[in-house]
Amino acid sequence: MTDEKPLIELERKIEGGDFQSAGDVSSELKRILQQIGFPPSFSRRVVIAAYEAEMNVVIHAWRGVFRAWIFPRYVHIEVDDEGPGIPDLELAFQEGYSTAPPHIREMGFGAGYGLSNMKKCSDRLEIDTRVGEGTKVTMDFFVRDV
C-alpha cells in the first residue's frame, strides 16, 4: 500500500456458513466503487475477486474480516479468516480442485475455480495460511489506462 490517504476504508465481518448474508460485503463494495465512478470493467474484476474471497470464508472458514482501502486509482483488499487454513496451496490453486462438501456443490459452488479466478482478476494476490488457524488473502487492483 502507499502512504496516500484512501478515499474510503471499509471493514466488515463475514460469518462462516451464513449463506443468507453471503455476498453482502462484496455488494456493498460494488456500490461504493460505482458511486466513486471507477470504469465498469475495473469495478467488475475487483468485485468478482472480492466475492470469491468472501465466499471462500463463508464456505471454508469459521469467521473472517473483510477490509478494503479505496484510492483514486487503486484498491487494496485484505480478507483475514479464522478457519482450517489451506494445507497445500499449490493444489488449492489448481482449477477443478475443491474440498467443498455436497451441500455446497448443490448451491453451485465448489468447482475449484475461485482462487485461480482471484489471481486472474487481481494485479497482485498473496495468500498467507496456517493449518488449523486461518488464511489471509491480500489483493491489489490498479486502474489500467485504456
Binding site: Q20, S26, K30, V47, Y51, E52, M55, G108, A111, N117
Partner: protein
C-alpha cells in the same frame, strides 16, 4: 435480441423485473456452476441455469449480467426473487431443459460468451 424476445422463444414466464425486458443481452451462457459463471462470462450476458438459490442473483450482480433464465421448470425461492427485484435483474422461467433452451436461443443468433468481443 431483447429479453422480451427471449421470453417468447423460450415460452417463459417472467418472475421479476418485467419492466426491464427491453434489455438486450450481448451473449449468453448456460451453467450450473457459479464460479464457472464468475470466471468465464462477459458483462451484459444472459445466464441460463438450473440453480435457484439467492447466490445465483449475487453472482449475476457481481458479473454485471443482464438477466437470468431458470430452465427445466425450476422455480426460485421467494428470497431469490426479492433479491433480483432489489438488484434489478430480470428473471424468466422456462419448462425447457438446458440444452433445448440454449439451442433455441443460439439458433436465433444469441452467441456464447467466448464468441463475442
Amino acid at each position: 435480441m431483447t429479453l422480451r424476445e427471449v421470453k417468447e422463444i423460450l415460452e417463459a414466464d417472467v418472475l421479476a423485473c418485467e419492466e426491464l425486458l427491453d434489455r438486450e443481452p450481448k451473449s449468453a451462457c448456460g451453467s450450473d456452476l457459479l464460479s464457472d459463471v464468475l470466471a468465464f462470462t462477459r458483462e451484459n450476458s444472459l445466464l441460463l441455469t438450473g440453480l435457484t438459490n439467492p447466490q445465483v442473483i449475487r453472482t449475476a450482480e457481481m458479473s454485471d449480467l443482464i438477466g437470468i433464465v431458470f430452465v427445466r421448470g425450476k422455480r426460485p425461492e421467494p428470497a431469490t426473487i426479492e433479491l433480483a427485484i432489489m438488484k434489478k435483474i430480470p428473471l424468466l422461467a422456462t419448462r425447457l431443459p438446458m440444452y433445448e433452451a440454449c439451442g433455441r436461443l443460439y439458433m436465433r443468433g444469441l452467441r456464447g460468451c467466448s464468441e463475442v468481443e
